[in-house]
């Protein structure tokens, strides 16, 4: 590994020097295509404030692997444990820290999350006041608050997409967009997408739905609910923690006399930093970004390397965020559920969704798939429910046709898998094959099938996706992107799935000795080792850190 890992010898503490990496273009290219060459001035002025490329905002957001966040967390860590015995001070401190974390990106959106918190809590308390017999009153409140939640999400996330689609449709019908339509597009394009809105919207919705169903009693304190919704480790990119898991922890502050699982916390944080800072950034710079930017100029082997690179990049990026979030929460005495479980070892698409972004897939199952009917109806209804769930899951990820197709691809894959399983008389409860080669072949098949869907997910437009598929079929030229360091990074990205629960973690855990006389020695040894490993990770990583991919959702 040499220069390929970066361009400077500095700390990986500032945002990425490549502005394109900092601002993944979303709708902008689509706007360009629709608006044509005649509107370059409008587009040029829009470039800095495009709905889905808040480059300036991201440059100023508090990313986990940055100095600003390190200072923020170290300060909070000491204050947290100093004040945890005094809930009247501790709870406002935690909320202020979470709002500071969020407001560092754009302070105006603190008001949005505050309004969101107040209204959702009010609705939950209002529903709780009615007995279950008065279900119509409860339903009215639920519908009103869900309309508000989804309306806010739609305004910020889908207004651009919907306006653009309307303009496109009119253009197809022979009505070219006039000045008014372009001005509307421009105005919509100026709406800034609040970071993490999809995550805290879903958390708020799950809370009110759980209260409506009677599965959960609302918290008595608005402050506790505000802390639950805005808790900074999971605020901007998940995992989507349910109220029943986190809210009780907010009501009862962590106890100072209860031992902390710092071994697991530090292991998760360091592993997450390595995944994000070293592997994900490298794969993005060397493979995914160049190929997906100009798919038509690369051959089939390069296109294959590019999609492998992106598949492992998004895993290392997103699971790193989840791991760091879980680790940080553990250091503060909170427990989050896991979000990833070696997803590319899945033996089927269904298995993949049990391992990938577990908090989202279980959310979709509990609040969308099952209310739609789940698998209780006929086979045809089950296929429909699966398809609709994943279609909406795709739309949750972003406003664009490529995301819709990505969701539809997974929905259809699941339906096809179910159909074939029924055709050959297999059941879901059947154990997976335990022979080596069938397992390896099935894993490779599922991995490549998922890779196909990542092409839609990553491409800015359908035209780019089609160009990518065309490149994949051209095997007349040798690969140009291959190098030993690329191979090493791909292998590392794949093998990082083995990291959990292996000897590495057991060795790390054993560094902290549980016998009382050695507690200080073990903790100090682990602290020193963590500092050394952190330095190695920072030196290996490139200069600057690109924002986490899931920030844009």
């Amino acid at each position: 590994m040499n220069r390929n890992f970066g361009t400077a010898t500095s700390l990986a503490f500032e945002t990425h020097p490549n502005p394109r990496v900092n601002s993944p273009p979303f709708l902008f290219k689509v706007y360009q295509r629709v608006s044509g060459d005649g509107n370059r001035n409008i587009l040029a002025s829009r470039q800095s404030s495009c709905i889905c490329s808040p480059a300036d905002g991201w440059r100023h957001s508090m990313l986990f692997p940055t100095t600003i966040f390190a200072i923020f967390f170290a300060t909070l860590f000491y204050l947290h444990w100093a004040l945890v015995k005094r809930p009247r001070l501790w709870k406002p401190l935690l909320l202020a820290a979470s709002y500071l974390f969020y407001g560092f990106w754009n302070w105006k959106f603190i008001f949005l999350i505050a309004i969101f918190t107040v209204l959702n809590h009010w609705a939950a308390c209002a529903m709780d006041r009615y007995p279950p017999a008065q279900s119509s009153a409860r339903k009215r409140i639920l519908v009103a608050i869900l309309l508000f939640d989804l309306g806010v999400l739609a305004f910020f996330k889908y207004a651009g997409f919907l306006t653009l689609t309307a303009v496109q449709t009119l253009a197809v019908l022979g009505l070219p967009p006039g000045d008014t339509a372009l001005r509307l597009l421009e105005a919509v394009g100026r709406i800034v997408l609040p970071v993490g809105i999809s995550f805290f919207t879903f958390q708020g919705m799950s809370y009110v739905i759980d209260v409506y169903r009677g599965d959960f009693r609302p918290g008595r304190s608005l402050l506790d609910f505000a802390n639950y919704l805005a808790f900074f480790p999971q605020l901007v990119a998940g995992p989507i923690v349910r109220a029943r898991d986190l809210l009780p922890q907010m009501e009862q502050p962590p106890r100072r006399d209860r031992p902390l699982d710092t071994s697991r916390a530090s292991f998760l944080i360091l592993a997450g930093l390595f995944k994000k800072t070293v592997i994900a950034n490298f794969l993005a710079e060397r493979l995914a970004d160049p190929v997906f930017a100009h798919p038509e100029s690369f051959s089939g082997p390069d296109a294959l390397l590019g999609v492998w690179g992106y598949a492992l990049q998004i895993y290392c990026d997103f699971s790193a965020y989840s791991d760091i979030a879980i680790g940080l929460a553990l250091l503060l005495g909170f427990h989050f559920p896991i979000n990833f479980n070696a997803p590319y070892f899945a033996l089927s698409i269904r298995d993949f969704w049990h391992r990938w972004h577990i908090s989202l897939s279980t959310w979709l199952r509990d609040y969308l798939y099952i209310p739609l009917g789940g698998s209780r109806g006929s086979e045809r209804q089950t296929y429909r429910n699966q398809f609709l769930t994943f279609l909406l899951g795709g739309l949750w990820h972003g406003a664009g046709w490529t995301f819709l197709i990505w969701g539809a691809f997974h929905g259809l894959s699941l339906a096809l898998e179910r159909f074939l399983a029924r055709l050959f008389g297999m059941r879901d409860s059947d154990p997976p094959p335990n022979r080596f080669w069938p397992v390896v072949l099935r894993r490779l098949w599922v991995f490549h099938w998922v890779c196909l869907s990542w092409i839609f997910f990553r491409c800015v437009s359908l035209t780019d996706a089609l160009a990518y598929f065309k490149s994949l079929t051209d095997w007349s030229r040798p690969p140009t992107l291959w190098s030993p360091s690329v191979g090493l990074a791909l292998a590392a990205g794949w093998c990082l799935q083995y990291l959990d629960g292996t000897r590495a973690e057991r060795l790390w855990v054993s560094l902290t000795c549980y016998s009382k006389p050695l507690q200080y020695a073990g903790a100090l040894l682990q602290g020193a080792a963590s500092a050394a490993i952190l330095t190695v990770i920072l030196a290996m990583g490139p200069r600057g850190v690109a924002p986490f991919i899931y920030f844009q959702f």
């Binding site: 040499n2 959990d500 500092a531």
Partner: protein, 122 residues
Amino acid sequence: MARWRDEIGERRAGEGKGTPLGPVLAGFSLFCILALLLNGESLHQNAHLLPYPRPVVITWPPSLSWRQPPPSFEWRSPARAMAIRLSAPLAAVSRGTGLNRFRARLDALFHTDNPQPAPPPP
């Protein structure tokens, strides 16, 4: 796998195993000090690159006229200058203890052909 991780984590937490708060605070403090000393010089060299709150444009007094733009001035946070100034003694201690060599060797190992970063502005 992750299931093991979760189970073992939950079990340890449930059994009350783990590290008591006192050693945790000591270990965390040592981590912070060592991390700062190991990376102090690099931190100082890059302090001018760190992202800080964007400049705030203040418009005062507000004008209701469409034709005449109101007077405005830009306020820049002093955080960057403070970071450069505060990280200087840290870099000096890092050099004094010799811990900066560890980071320098790693940098040389992983980025052999890169130019040295520019010195921070005065």
